[in-house]
Amino acid sequence: MFIKFLQLEWKAFTRSSSMGQEIAVKILLGFLGFYMLASCLVLGFALFHILSEYVADKSPVNAVNGALVVWVVMELFMRFFLQTLPTLNIRPLMVQPVKRNTVIHYVLIKSIFSFYNLLGLLVFVPFALTCVKNGLFTPFQAAAWLVIIFGLLMSVNFSNFLIKKKFADNIQQFIPYLLVAVILAGLEYFGIFSITRYTGRGIDRVTDYPVLALLPVLLAVALYVWNYITLKEKFYLDASLQSKVTEAKALNLGWLDRFGPLAPFIKLDIKLLWRNKRPKSTLYLAVMMLAYGLIFYTNEAYDGMPAWKIFLGIFMTGIFMINFGQFIPAWDSTYYPLMMAQNIPLKEYLRSKAALMYLSVLVLFLGTLPYAYFGIEIVFAHLAAAVYNAGINIPVMLYTGSFNKKRIDLEKSVFLNYQGTGAAQWLVAIPVMLVPILIWYLVYKITNPATANLVLGGIGITGILLNSTLMDFITRAYQERKYEAINGFKQQEA
């Protein structure tokens, strides 16, 4: 049965109208993945020596054990944003003689073979081996220790599964957990209560009592069962497949009428964002990411690297633009034929999308103003970045959107629908962020930060002034690929 499921997925992939695009994305991700694997392996072999050199008061093993909990949290955080979980379109299978258990086990077991599970192993297996070589571990202890690592990695894997399933739709529910993590980190930082000491000591004991190594494994098994139970509940048409019948709430959007001919579209987009879970998450994510700057601006290590301010400016003011913009016009894919046949000039349609993104950049820029507390120059850097976003990046996002032909189903949810919540989602962000940072950095190296801000902002303003020409160019791109898009959007997601 598992083989049959794999065949189905393979067909879904090769027969999708966006296959070319997906292959390109996969190749690019493959390179990044290879780089990460190589880095992890190097780190794994070097870790012992690094630790014996820099951490004098502890043995490398104790040092690693102490930091393990931090590793786990970081990995969980990273996976939440990057790992795409296996999905399966179960609607056609529901009335077929396929056991529910088989489908659920398939989805869960497939996640074990994820690339992300390799990363940790590549660091810790070489580390354990070097420890044996240097006499810190007996081979048996090393094996027991690796069992712990494996158990923890699996626990991370299945926790992520659980978190994504529970929170991918309502990301705002994740905030309390984030707060706990932040508080624990704070207590650790100020030396009030060190959780790493306790977890570290706990893991240290394994050398004496190898049986303890089974605890993380049990944890992983427990998480697997928890996942299994929650997934089983979702395996009904009315639970996860069909969106619940919600009472329609009227939105008073009359104030948007001042946008004239663009008003109907902007109102429509606001309803789109507000009434559908997935686009709604992009809103929450944008607000949550306003706090991202705290990580950098509170850390003195970044003081000597002013280019970070541009990165943060682009990222924080542009996150909605990135997450919403890259799926234009796929958000409208379920009714794209209507948009193409109705009395809608394509240019107006695109201008309204741009207007929404301008609005988001403005609002998010205002949201970053409190960072002035860390220095007024931050505000200038953010302003330059925001103007660049508005002038250059918004047209770029719109243009790349013309290549979209993958349907986004707002209404029917695939069993565990994580479309657009994986590493691929951030790929497009790389050029969007890298180019302005490079420009700024080059000018900054030659002159000073103020000039660099002016140059970056100037480029943005040029973009804004050329807006009309750019929009004409983008409209032609959409016109050319209109038929491909209509055809692609017709294909139901598998």
């Binding site: 969106s243 019948v245 919600t246 009472e247 329609a248 009227a250 008003a263 109907p264 109102k267 429509l268 309803k271 789109l272 009434r275 559908n276 379920t334 009714y335 794209y336 034929p337 209507l338 193409m340 046949a341 109705q342 009395n343 809608i344 000039p345 394509l346 707002l410 209404e411 038929y483 209509i486 055809n487 017709k490």
Partner: protein
């Protein structure tokens, strides 16, 4: 007037539509019948510039649909549920279409009021999103929305499918009323020969992409069509 010249559509090596010449005069009530795969939806999609013709062109009131967007203001269509926006309530959807077609809220309300009977109290003020309506009720919304803004060309693909018998009768009445207006050209496709014969004054039968019958509706039309399709 709608004119198809040398129109053909091929997918791979298969020709799914081939119409050397077809003229639909203004004010006609045009019925398109045929089996599955006869090319009915393909023809309508070409007319709406949703797919590209392999050869030839369609001219809608003097505008080549593939070259200009100027046919959009006077043309409206309901092909399938991809013409509905699931996360809107029926009213919001009507007002949205109204906005696009330059109609204010009062104009739209007047039209909805006229068709109150057609909705059968199940659609308006229901506090439901379109995605939560039944297929039949969704269809009713889509059909009435094509009437907003007094379009001169109305295209309905399989409007009778999924509708209950009462609504089918009401829909026929609406279509006939539109057909009486000499400025409105209405194009309806259906598998159902009887319905089409009742509402159209000209019927074209497609078979594997070719026009095989082109007849003005009369007493004998139904028999003639039934004889043709009874294989």
């Amino acid at each position: 007037m709608i004119e198809a010249i040398n129109l053909s559509k091929k997918y791979g090596g298969t020709t799914v539509l081939n119409i050397p010449n077809l003229i639909i005069p203004k004010g006609e009530s045009f019925g398109l019948v045929g089996n599955n795969g006869a090319g009915k939806t393909t023809f309508f999609s070409l007319l709406l510039d949703l797919i590209q013709p392999t050869t030839g062109q369609i001219i809608n009131q003097g505008i080549q649909v593939h070259a200009s967007e100027d046919w959009k203001p006077f043309t409206s269509a309901f092909i399938d549920e991809s013409f509905l926006i699931g996360y809107l309530t029926p009213e919001e959807y009507f007002y949205f279409i109204g906005d696009l077609r330059g109609q204010n809220k009062a104009d739209v309300d007047a039209l909805l009021d006229k068709h109150r009977e057609f909705f059968n109290d199940e659609i308006l003020n229901g506090k439901k999103y379109l995605r939560d309506l039944s297929k039949g009720n969704q269809k009713k919304v889509g059909i009435i929305a094509t009437l907003i803004g007094n379009p001169e060309v109305i295209i309905l693909d399989e409007p009778f499918a999924n509708l209950d018998p009462t609504t089918q009768i009401r829909l026929k009445r609406i279509i006939k009323e539109l057909a009486d207006n000499p400025d409105v050209t209405i194009l309806v496709s259906s598998h159902d020969l009887l319905h089409t014969v009742e509402v159209s004054n000209r019927i074209v039968a497609l078979h594997k992409g070719e026009i095989v019958k082109d007849i003005a509706t009369s007493e004998e039309t139904l028999k003639e069509l039934e004889a043709f399709f009874a294989v």
